[in-house]
């Protein structure tokens, strides 16, 4: 299926999928509550946000220079930088490095850029054995699925589903109803083998530091470090918007990232990788490569969507989104689900396949309020909607509906009259519930909702009456 398309159909299926709904229910509260506690405990949070935003804006304005400074620093530390305009070029660069290293087995840390590249696919097609090492990524790799959340890729899976997958792939005689600890320990044993046998390790980067040429990786599992430090070759896949100017800037971003993502002050492991092993060292990779992927970002930088490039991929907008919370990540059919995905997918894959996705926003503004980088997500989604309308991409009915709404807005008298009539109709439906069954369209709306008893008057009418009383 074209990336970004088919939201409506998949959203309906997701809402009817009881297992998925159970998994989403488990996840929903956790992220939101943990973030709030962590943010409330740091009174300086807003000031830190403001500084991070200023740094990112400055970096984006001077992106070419900072990327070149980063490149110089990587080379000075003994590493190599590979530039790629497209995902094909990026995959090609990775494949060439693997071929030169005579690699067979590749371990991978979690990287959304590698998802963008569909790197696993490219590597497997070229005959390499690829092993995802983040537990969530490992689970969905076994299930042959894509991540449904940018920081919790298997958030849509229940424990029972994970256990069933492990039964299938871990073979052996495994007892039923194993604990989460047992499941994690099974994966640990399995992945330890992969780590020790890997020829190339590929990780993503949360940040790139121009000043030092470092690639920063945050994990809780430590899988990124085992991926990067055991094989002879370490490849970092990163997009050009990941760069920040100085090492001294990193704490500002780290203070926001962990708190916004999982409510942690800092994840268990934060590692800065700078170049290959030093001359006197006996361990660590002999080669250090950074793939710098553009994939349309240099165009986004100069567009009205520039703000989206400040994103540090914490996932807070997904966790606070009413639509994401109801349907999960897969319905978006895209690398990036949720609000940031609704902004990025049309930019990465085109507006045509994203029309249903950009409609799936209630504009409640929660995502914007929790975004640590101050990205005006609903405003950017609205810009996509405006562009879709201006380019005549909506359906006939949608256009007619919007035109009707516009004409009502321009005729307040008619609008008042019509809303007064509907207010009476809603009261009637509330007073005589049996009538609701006869009303077209109300049927599916009523699933999961109760129609409240209405007063039969519009807000404006009540306000007017109230004023007369005064």
């Amino acid at each position: 299926m074209q990336q970004g398309s088919g939201f409506k159909k998949d959203a309906v299926q997701a809402l009817q999928n009881e297992t998925l709904q159970a998994a989403l229910n488990t996840a929903r509260g956790g992220f939101v509550d943990k973030r709030r506690v962590a943010v409330d405990a740091l009174p300086e949070f807003d000031a830190i946000k403001a500084r991070a935003k200023a740094i990112k804006n400055h970096t984006l304005d001077n992106l070419g220079d900072y990327l070149q400074e980063f490149e110089r620093a990587v080379i000075a530390s003994g590493g190599q930088v590979h530039w790629a305009q497209t995902t094909e070029q990026a995959n090609q660069a990775v494949l060439e490095i693997c071929a030169q290293a005579n690699a067979k087995c590749v371990t991978k840390g979690k990287s959304m850029i590698s998802e963008e590249m569909q790197l696993n696919h490219a590597l497997e097609n070229a005959g390499y054995e690829v092993m995802e090492t983040d537990l969530g990524e490992y689970i969905i790799q076994l299930a042959k699925e894509t991540p449904s959340h940018i920081i919790a890729p298997a958030v849509h899976k229940t424990k029972a589903q994970v256990e069933a997958l492990f039964d299938e792939f871990h073979g052996a005689e495994l007892p039923p109803n194993r604990s989460r600890e047992q499941l994690v320990s099974e994966a640990r044993v399995r992945l330890r083998e992969a780590f020790l046998g890997a020829d190339v390790g590929i990780t993503g980067a949360n940040f790139l530091i121009a000043e030092t040429g470092s690639s920063v990786l945050v994990t809780n599992e430590g899988n990124g470090d085992l991926t990067a430090s055991i094989p002879g070759v370490h490849i970092v896949t990163a997009s050009i918007d990941k760069v920040i100017p100085k090492l001294d800037d990193l704490p500002t971003f780290l203070r926001l990232l962990g708190r916004s993502a999982t409510g942690q002050e800092l994840t268990a492991y934060t590692t800065l990788f700078t170049g290959p092993r030093r001359a006197e060292e006996t361990a660590g990779p002999e080669q250090f490569h950074v793939i710098l992927l553009d994939n349309g970002r240099s165009d986004i930088r100069d567009s009205e969507f520039k703000d989206a490039l400040r994103c540090i991929r914490c996932g807070a907008c997904l966790n606070h989104c009413a639509v994401y919370g109801a349907v999960g990540g897969h319905a978006y059919n895209a690398v990036y689900p949720g609000p940031i995905g609704q902004v990025m997918t049309p930019l990465l894959n085109g507006l045509d396949s994203s029309l249903e996705t950009i409609s799936a926003c209630t504009m409640n503004g929660h995502c914007k309020a929790v975004c640590p980088m101050g990205i005006p997500l609903p405003d950017l989604i609205r810009k996509h909607r405006v562009a879709a309308f201006e380019q005549n991409k909506n359906s006939f009915l949608e256009r007619k509906g919007l035109s009707f709404w516009k004409s009502m807005g321009l005729k307040p008298g008619v609008y008042r009259h019509l809303t007064a009539m509907s207010a009476k109709a809603v009261k009637l439906l509330g007073d005589f519930p049996l009538l609701q069954n006869l009303t077209p369209l109300l049927g599916s709306w009523k699933n999961g909702r109760v129609l409240m008893k209405a007063r039969g008057k519009t807000f404006q009418a009540l306000l007017k009456a109230g004023r007369k009383h005064d």
Partner: protein, 206 residues
């Protein structure tokens, strides 16, 4: 690749950078000395499933190690990284130190941190021949020693200490705040995803 590089940079416009002037004045006030940095570090680490002892003598180092291993029912055999000199640590009966070469075969490792960060409850380990990074990730039990004088209040000061050290930026600079963990199965925390299942930090106040 050079063509891709040229085109990306051309689009981004390689103009002279605007001057960088974004002062770093905002740092968490909670670090401001209501308690000692060592106590703050200890409290933060304990909150993330790490045992911490603050010791005042070399004898106590050995006792702390033995106590930690006994608490977890682990054998009293400790692999030591090249950079840690155990000759000055009086060894309690039963405890055995050995130089560790193969981290994958090591159950308990003893290594040392260059710095600590009180703000975040973090120990900082720059990789080197003396302090191999895999010691921090392969053994089930990881014991890290830290001198109290090397605890910095916030991340900025620890980074600047690393940058200004003789070795400069290492290949891998590990910031460790607790043992390995995952919440990838139903958002429920499980320790020991890949790296150490138990982390023990010994702060030497001598």
């Amino acid at each position: 690749m050079t063509e891709a590089r040229r085109q990306i940079l051309e689009k981004l416009g390689a103009v002279a950078a605007d001057e960088y002037c974004i002062p770093n004045t905002v740092q968490p006030a909670f670090v401001a000395r209501s308690e000692s940095l060592a106590l703050l570090l200890k409290r933060k680490l304990e909150a993330v499933h790490t045992s911490v002892d603050i010791v005042g003598s070399a004898e106590q180092v050995g006792q702390s190690i033995a106590g930690f291993l006994n608490a977890h029912g682990s054998p009293l055999k400790v692999g030591v990284v090249p950079g840690v000199d155990t000759s000055s640590i009086p060894v309690p009966p039963g405890l055995d130190f050995y130089p560790c070469q193969d981290m994958a075969a090591c159950h308990t490792v003893l290594t040392s941190a260059a710095f600590g960060i009180a703000e975040t409850g973090t120990v900082v380990l720059p990789s080197s021949l003396q302090r191999p990074t895999l010691a921090n990730f392969l053994p089930d039990n990881c014991i890290i020693m830290l001198d109290e004088v090397n605890i910095r209040p916030c991340m900025e000061e620890a980074f600047s200490s690393v940058q200004n050290s003789d070795a400069g930026m290492p290949r891998a600079l590990n910031l460790i705040s607790g043992p390995s963990k995952t919440a990838d199965i139903e958002q429920t925390l499980v320790y020991g995803a890949h790296g150490p299942i138990q982390l023990h930090v010994i702060i030497r106040a001598v």
